[in-house]
Structure formats: structure tokens, C-alpha cells
Amino acid sequence: MNSPYSFSTRLFLLFIAILLLIYFARIFSLPESWGDYGYYRGDYIDEEASKAMVYGGNDTCQSCHEEVYTIKKEGAHKKLSCELCHGPVGEHVEGKRYIGELSVERGTKQTKMCLRCHQEVTGRPETFPMVDAKQHLEDEKVDASNACGSCHTVHEPLETMRYVKRLRTLREGLDDDDE
């Protein structure tokens, strides 16, 4: 206890003890499958894979809803995932909800949904169809209470527009004939 080296020796042993503590802390706290494939828990892959399906992709929707899919695949919204608006298919087939929450109610709620992408914002490319909802309704000379869905069919937004355009062209053609 009174040797001149006693303090140094004990402190050195303490240092070794600290190193061992860190070493064992790592061994004991590491999950078993750590590092099996990389810097993560190997079991994680199986855990994730065994989770119940939430999103199914458009093919899953198409298998039952062929008629809507046919309309959508030709239109301006052809690149969008069904579940983007309708919510996850996993919940739908389990019967928790008939359909995703977002577009259940038509009207203002649906309008909000549309404006998520189509609201006029400086950051978006100019070629992207954007509107200021109020201004758009005024420009088109329709009642301000109208929602987007009143004129645009959501699965193919330009369907009605094309139809109206065709009618107008016919009408103009007829008018020209009259003159």
C-alpha cells in the first residue's frame, strides 16, 4: 500500500478496467444479428419483410377495378399511384376503411387534395398545370362554390374538357355553315 509505485499501478489497472468495461459494454449491448450483412441488425431484414402489406401498387387495384384503371391509364394522371389519393390498399382489403380517407368527401376536401399539386407556386415548372383556385373559377365564369370535381373527372381530369372542346368546335363549324 505504501510502495511508491502503488498509485501508478492501481491507476493503470483502473484504466485497463475502463477499457474492458467499454469492450464488454459493446459485446453485451450488441444485438445478436448485428453485422451479419453490414452495419445493421441482420434480423431487421426479416422483420421488415414479414410486416403486413400496406401499399400494393397499381396492379393490385387494377385486378378488381379494371374499368377505372382503363380511364386513368390514358389520361393526364396516368403516372400517379392510385394509393396517392385513395390511401393504402392494405387497409382497404382488411375492411377497416372502404377507401383511403383523403377523397372520401367530395367538395372542398377534394379541392384541397387537388391543390396539393396544382396550387400555383413559383417553384414548379411553368409547363405544369397550376391554378389559383378562386381566380380559375372566375376566369372560367362558373360559380365560386364549385369544387374541382364539379368539372374535372379526377381519374382523367381533361376528359370533360376534351368533350366540351369537341362540342364547341362542332358548334362553331355549324355556325360557320349557317353564315
Partner: protein, 392 residues
């Protein structure tokens, strides 16, 4: 608080994520390094004039070191994440902070062990004369030994030298690493320079030495022992402060100058930041008020023969100015780098909340904490009167 946005900023960098806590972290780490350098100069390089404050600055460095990780853990939000970074570091890339953790751990052990060796003999003596809790604390700190031999004390001196010598590179590495954490961020043009670790390291020494001067004089003032302040010690500290400050300041200015002259990529953005949102905090405060004025005060104090009282007064004034300068420097680096949008065009704004989790009140408490810790440590490790002076 809504951020004021200037020009165009991408939506995802409207809000700076590294807050006042990160500023504090870099600041506190720097204080540690500077205070340690003062003690190392005495223990390793044998600066006789710094001997009276060698022990004090070592304990002071330790009291700052204890709180270094506090702002980081507050910022982390979920403190249990911190040990994982240290236990499972990813050497292939993203575990930069794990590196800091290891250096911090090594440095803490170096300083702690050095303190134990510096006070070992006295603690053995105190253990015999004290009772109660103090007796137990000394028993634990001396690891149950009672050696009073001359040989034992010779070993102490050698080990203290060894730890001091180990501590200098570790201290430089510790704060250089903080600089590296910023200097390694390629996406922020204001940070991305190999000079960052060097500038950080030198300014760390500046803040630490200034911190030693202020606390040294203040403690003597409040304990009414101003007569104990050694003019020679103070003069050496001020000369050291000037030396390190010259390096810190001119390296930073040179770096800026090189960027400005060579018009490096995105210099237009850095220039606009320095002339716009950072005009006050960088040019006015950090450079004009808190660098150029202290530079001349320090020059005067270092090169001329100054009276004792004037030296103490101006020493404290200039040290407080430099403590603020380094804080502004840290702020300008941490916040400045983040208010510059990745668009290369716009700027956002950051000001901490008063009562936020990472706000000004918390920051104040963290800055005060080391003073309380220092006071507690002074109960166990006496800074000044060496009871063994006669025997040395």
C-alpha cells in the same frame, strides 16, 4: 418565429438545424483546449512564470470539459442514441461524431489522470487530516494508497510530464476535430476548407487562455487576494494570448483573402452573406470591434512596460473581448454556414428562442455550470497554496 428569407432558398433549408447548442459545443471545447495549453506549458515546457496557475488551469480545463457534451445531448433530443454511435461506429463513412467521442474520452482520461497525479501527494496528506465525506472522497481519489515517499513524488513528476506531453496533441486533435467536422461538410461553401481545423484550434487556444486570465483575476478579486496575482504570470499569459490570437485571426483572414482573390466556387454567395445577413455579426463585431481593437490593446500590453493595476484591468477587458470574439466566430461559422441556402443565391435567418429547449436560457445555464463545477472542485483540489511548497 417566422424566418425572414432573402432571395431564393429551397424549402428544406429554410430552417437551420444546428442551433445555439452546437455553437456552445464548439465554444466550450475550445475553452478546454486553451486552459489545458496553459498548464501544459508549465508542466511540459517548464514555463516558470506559469507555474503558479498550472494546477488551476488544469482543473479549470476539466470543469469545462465536463459540460462539453451537455449541449450535444440536449440537441440530440434522444440521449440514449449517443452511446450507440460510440459502440457501433461505421468506419466506412458517416460516424464523424463517433471519432469525436473517442478523442473526448481519451482526453477526459488524460486530464483526469493528470489531475490525480498532480494532487496525489497532497490528497494523501489531506486524507489523514480530513474526516467525513471529504475523507472518503480523498480515499477514493488516491485509490486507497498512502505513499508519502520522495521516490513516489519523483514518479508523479515524470507521469505528470508524460500526461502533459500526451495531452498537447490530444488537445489539438480534440478541437481540430471540431473544426474538421465543419471543414468536412462539402455542401457548405463557408465551411469547406482544410484551414477550418487550424483556425478552430488556434481560436480555441485564444478563448481558453482568455478564460484563464478572466477566472484567475476574478477569483482573486472576489476572495480579496489580488496581492497574490503574480505580474509575471499575467504578463506571460497576455503574451501567449497575443501570440495565439495573431495566428487565429490572421489564418482566418488569410483564408477569406484567398477565397476572395481566387474567387473560388460560390464565393459570390459567401461574399453576399458576409455583406448581407452576417454584416453585423462578422464584420462589425467579430472583426472590427472584437479583433482589431483587442489586437492593439494586446500589442500595447505585451510590448510596453505596464503598471500592475493597468495590466490586470486591461488584461480582463481584452480577455472578455476575446472570449466574445471567439463566441462570435463560432456563431458565424455554425449559424453563418446554415443561413446560406443550398441554392447558392438566398439566405434564411436564425435567432434562438429565449425559453426553447435549445434556447438562450439553457445556453446561459450551460455557460454558468462550469463555474459551479469549478467551485465544487476547489473544495477537493486547492488551486493555489501548495502545502508542500517547502519540500519541492
Amino acid at each position: 418565429m417566422d424566418a425572414q428569407v432573402l432571395n431564393y432558398v429551397f424549402p428544406n433549408d429554410m430552417h437551420p438545424h444546428w442551433t445555439l447548442m452546437i455553437v456552445l459545443y464548439t465554444y466550450l471545447t475550445g475553452l478546454v483546449e486553451g486552459a489545458f495549453i496553459v498548464s501544459a506549458l508549465s508542466y511540459v515546457f517548464g514555463f516558470k512564470s506559469l507555474q503558479p496557475i498550472a494546477r488551476f488551469s488544469l482543473v479549470l480545463a476539466f470543469s469545462w470539459l465536463v459540460v462539453v457534451t451537455v449541449p450535444l445531448i440536449i440537441h440530440l433530443g434522444q440521449p440514449t442514441r449517443a452511446p450507440w454511435m460510440l459502440l457501433t461506429p461505421n468506419y466506412d463513412g458517416p460516424s464523424m461524431m463517433a471519432g469525436f467521442g473517442y478523442i473526448y474520452l481519451i482526453y477526459t482520461l488524460v486530464i483526469l489522470f493528470q489531475i490525480l497525479f498532480v494532487y496525489r501527494y497532497e490528497m494523501v496528506l489531506f486524507k489523514a487530516t480530513s474526516s467525513g465525506i471529504k475523507h472518503h472522497i480523498y480515499s477514493i481519489l488516491t485509490l486507497g494508497t498512502n505513499d508519502r515517499s520522495k521516490e513516489g513524488r519523483q514518479i508523479d513528476t515524470k507521469v505528470i510530464w508524460l500526461f502533459g506531453a500526451l495531452g498537447i496533441p490530444t488537445a489539438s486533435l480534440l478541437h481540430g476535430y471540431v473544426g474538421f467536422i465543419f471543414g468536412g461538410v462539402k455542401a457548405v461553401e463557408w465551411w469547406f476548407t482544410p484551414l477550418m481545423p487550424i483556425v478552430f484550434s488556434f481560436s480555441a487556444a485564444v478563448s481558453g487562455i482568455a478564460g484563464v486570465i478572466v477566472t484567475y483575476i476574478m477569483i482573486k478579486l472576489f476572495t480579496k487576494r489580488v496581492y497574490e496575482i503574480k505580474t509575471e504570470t499575467l504578463k506571460t499569459l497576455i503574451k501567449l494570448l497575443w501570440t495565439f490570437f495573431i495566428f487565429a485571426f490572421f489564418f482566418e483572414m488569410l483564408e477569406l483573402g484567398v477565397h476572395a482573390y481566387s474567387v473560388t466556387e460560390n464565393w459570390h454567395h459567401v461574399k453576399a452573406a458576409l455583406e448581407g445577413p452576417m454584416q453585423w455579426s462578422f464584420w462589425t463585431m467579430q472583426i472590427k470591434v472584437l479583433s482589431i481593437i483587442p489586437f492593439f490593446i494586446l500589442m500595447w500590453l505585451s510590448l510596453r512596460t505596464i503598471g500592475r493595476i493597468a495590466l490586470m484591468f486591461w488584461g480582463v477587458v481584452v480577455s472578455i473581448m476575446l472570449l466574445m470574439q471567439v463566441f462570435f466566430m463560432r456563431w458565424n461559422v455554425v449559424v453563418g454556414g446554415q443561413i446560406m441556402g443550398k441554392s447558392g443565391r438566398g439566405f434564411t435567418e436564425y435567432f434562438p428562442e429565449w425559453f426553447d429547449k435549445e434556447g438562450i436560457l439553457v445556453a446561459g445555464l450551460i455557460l454558468i455550470a462550469p463555474i459551479v463545477i469549478l467551485w465544487l472542485l476547489s473544495k477537493i483540489f486547492p488551486f493555489w497554496e501548495s502545502t508542500t511548497e517547502g519540500e519541492r
